[in-house]
């Protein structure tokens, strides 16, 4: 009888953010959809109420079905039988429950059978499902692929594939190859066009493909012979009913064991082109990756929430030296920091989701009508923010989720190292989040652009312009100092005009920006609800101390020091 939505007031708080008014109005085309669809909302209040109620269903399925199944799924895992991936029994149950409840294709328009949900409630669903079982969240979260087909596919492809999602079709994104991991430009899987029929045929190997035996797969392949870079790559959709892919094996992983990671061999597999040739990686996969990174952000927050709850419960129950261990400073500090960090990445998650929501809504509105000048400017503004916030979110949420899972296990002591408590599974599941969909190191590479072009500084200044209650003013003053310090430190590093030196400090600079941004977001949350005052206060103090340490390190370094790090 658990409900992972109702028992977490933070979710309702983020769902009712003031910016939702703009998002929902755009997404619902000013509430005109109700003329054609009996489940479309009448107004903002009605829409928010629908999200709330649907999230309650997700919370119930997560609490009553997915959560209780997680241990069995982790133990059993998927199997490969007759070239077919058979999910663990619990995985299938989870999937069936969500399909029957209509939770696939949540963000797709209603004309394709979707719920037309904005990104915010969709991402919230992903957080809730991840808290129950992070591995299963991958299988469910791959409905992101529908978004890519919707955004870039032809009418024919959209009509063929999109309605299948709400009926339960599973999806996969087939990008990685043995020699093309972080560097996707190196993809070699070959796509050949049969000029007569207009059908493309795929040949080659894909590796580490989550849910590789899915009904619908998006495949990145080299359509331009004799090319070696990104400009020769296109994106294709492959339908499993063709049975032209051999599944070589399912990987045996450290965590997220319920999610089948496959090695695939495409043999003359018929496929359809998404959008135009040569834009596969440059445009479509970049967009797909951005939603996937938002997805990992949601997954990380869900894992962090699960880990924190396990730790709290254990620390309250476990007694040593005659009292519950949570009463010792060493433990209560850990528990509180875990909670504060979870609040911080959650607020960053929903801020990013809102930015994505607005620019995506304008993108689709632009397909139907010409955008006004003001709308175009807003579109660009939020697109830019989404671009710099997404890598920041992926970086911080995944790193924090690992720290929180690590501490949660630590609080369990020796017991946590055994298989007896859920925390060991959560700890293993957390580990992948800093790796897939772009490692933390690659997120820094993406995020450093926001440092260089001043996007973070601009965002920070905009946050600084928001007035807060007098009793919160002291935190704002600290954040203003941190903003100033961040700007000056960036200048200091740039003074050397040495790209390698900038890369060397990139993570420190990006983290300085992130710490300050999350500080502001928590401050604004506190401004809207007292509940967050404590988290804001503790986080800002922690962030301030961290940034000072980073500045200390940067100030005493010089480009010539890099040599010492190069010689191993």
């Amino acid at each position: 009888m658990a409900n992972f939505y109702n028992d977490n007031e933070n979710l309702k708080f983020h769902l009712t953010h003031p910016l939702m008014e703009k998002i929902v109005k755009l997404k619902e085309k000013n509430y005109t959809e109700m003329e054609h669809h009996d489940y479309a909302p009448l107004d903002l209040e009605d829409a928010l109420d629908s999200y709330d109620k649907v999230l309650e269903i997700i919370g119930e399925i997560s609490g009553d079905i997915i959560g209780p199944n997680a241990e069995g799924v982790d133990h059993d895992g998927p199997q490969l039988i007759d070239n077919e991936v058979i999910y663990a029994k619990g995985t299938q149950e989870n999937h069936d429950a969500l399909v029957k409840a209509g939770m696939i294709g949540m963000s797709l328009p209603r004309e394709y059978g979707g719920l037309n949900f904005p990104i915010v409630p969709y991402v919230m669903s992903a957080e809730i499902v991840s808290r129950a079982d992070a591995g299963f969240a991958n299988i469910w979260g791959l409905q992101d692929c529908a978004e890519t087909i919707h955004e870039f596919g032809s009418e024919e492809i959209k009509n063929e594939y999109l309605p299948r999602f709400n009926k339960g079709a599973t999806a996969a994104m087939d990008l990685t190859e043995p020699d093309a991991g972080s560097d996707l430009q190196a993809v070699q899987l070959k796509a050949t066009l049969d000029q007569q029929t207009g059908i493309w045929y795929l040949d080659g190997v894909k590796r580490f493909i989550t849910n590789g035996d899915a009904d619908i797969s998006l495949v990145l392949a080299r359509s331009e012979a004799n090319t070696t870079d990104a400009r020769g790559l296109s994106l294709f959709v492959y339908d499993r009913t063709h049975r032209a892919v051999k599944i070589r094996r399912i990987e045996n992983k450290l965590g997220i064991k319920g999610s089948p990671t496959c090695e695939l061999v495409f043999k003359n597999a018929p496929a359809k082109l998404i959008g135009d040739t040569k834009l596969g990686l440059i445009k479509y996969v970049m967009s797909l990756m951005n939603s996937a990174r938002l997805g990992v952000g949601a997954q990380s927050v869900g894992i962090a929430e699960a880990a924190w709850r396990e730790a709290l419960k254990y620390a309250q129950e476990r007694e040593q030296f005659g009292k519950a261990i949570i009463r010792y400073p060493a433990v209560y500090e850990m528990i509180t920091n875990m909670k504060v960090k979870t609040d911080a990445i959650r607020t960053l998650l929903y801020e990013t989701a809102r930015f994505v929501d607005i620019y995506k809504a304008y993108t689709f509105a632009g397909h139907d009508r010409k955008l006004e000048q003001a709308e175009r400017e807003e579109y660009k503004y939020y697109l830019k923010l989404a671009d710099v916030f997404t890598p920041l979110l992926k970086l911080f949420s995944s790193e924090y989720c690992n720290q929180i899972a690590y501490d949660a296990l630590q609080i369990h002591g020796g017991t946590g190292y055994m298989k007896d408590f859920p925390v060991e599974r959560i700890y293993r599941d957390a580990r992948i989040t800093t790796i897939y969909e772009g490692t933390s190191q690659l997120q820094v590479v993406a995020a450093i652009r926001g440092v260089g072009n001043g996007a973070y500084l601009k965002a920070l200044q905009a946050y600084g312009a928001v007035e807060v209650k007098p009793e919160l003013q002291y935190m704002k003053s600290v954040l203003e100092k941190m903003t100033d310090q961040f700007g000056k430190t960036v200048e200091k590093v740039n003074e050397f005009e040495d790209n390698e030196y900038l890369d060397f400090h990139a993570r420190r600079l990006v983290e300085m920006a992130g710490n300050t941004i999350m500080g502001y977001l928590l401050l604004h949350d506190a401004n809207r609800s007292d509940v967050y005052t404590k988290s804001a206060d503790i986080f800002i103090r922690m962030a301030r101390a961290e940034n000072i340490a980073k500045v200390g390190f940067i100030n005493q370094s010089h480009p010539k020091d890099l040599g010492a790090y190069k010689q191993v």
Binding site: M1, K53, A101
Partner: protein
Amino acid sequence: MSFRIIVLAKQVPDTRNVGKDAMKADGTVNRAALPAIFNPEDLNALELALRIKDQRKDCEVIVLTMGPFRAAEIVREAMYRGADRGYLITDRKFAGSDTLATSYAISLAVKKLEPYNLVISGRQAIDGDTAQVGPQTAEKLNIPQVTYAEDIPEVTDTHIVIKRRLELGIETVKAPMPLAITVHSSAPDCRQRVAKLLMKYKHARTVTELQNETKDYTELYNQRPYLQIDEWTVDDLHADVEMLGLSGSPTKVKKIENVVFAHKDSKVMTSSDEDINNLMKELIESHVIG
């Protein structure tokens, strides 16, 4: 002609999650302190009905509930899961009805919905645990009844096959229709609410509820008549008032004592891993261990 199933469902206080305020000093249930929920075995009954609807295009599932105005929530909850429509039997004159008076009122409502194929309900409600309303309703309707159902493996136009969960095993019976069925908790859990149905029906209201709405939805209700949940009063049922409420209820509570819980259901478990896992899960969930 459609295959009509009438599901009888009751809104009950959630006696499974009792807190310290669950009982009043006089030993009666403190309804205000407990959340109102869909009676669990009625949900099992709804699921069996919906499974028939999954198989038959001509099937229509109608939910019937009796209770105060707020019991309309039961009708909505059933529609979120796939029921086609529902009725709320409500009237102050029903207050204080025992199982006899209740089944009298329900049987009149069922008769208004003739012709029907099945009347299906949970075995018993968790607030009273009498298991009398289903069978008594069947008697008043003068139709055969099958109790303790846990599965319906076969339904044709003329007969139905039902598996009954009995203490020492499972009995499979074949019965004619129209038929009344009461469903045991070992029947499959009810499906989840469906997102689109929830959004479609969440504005469904009874006339009484509409009067209390702050927003004016008149236009919406004119456009979408399916959002109207009908309320049936004593007059609508043409009921004899003497047979309702306290006057129609021969059951009088003489005294209430606290009792120690004894086992109610029995379940046969094999030594398979799966059964042992399920047993452990159940024991942990019910806080017997852990």
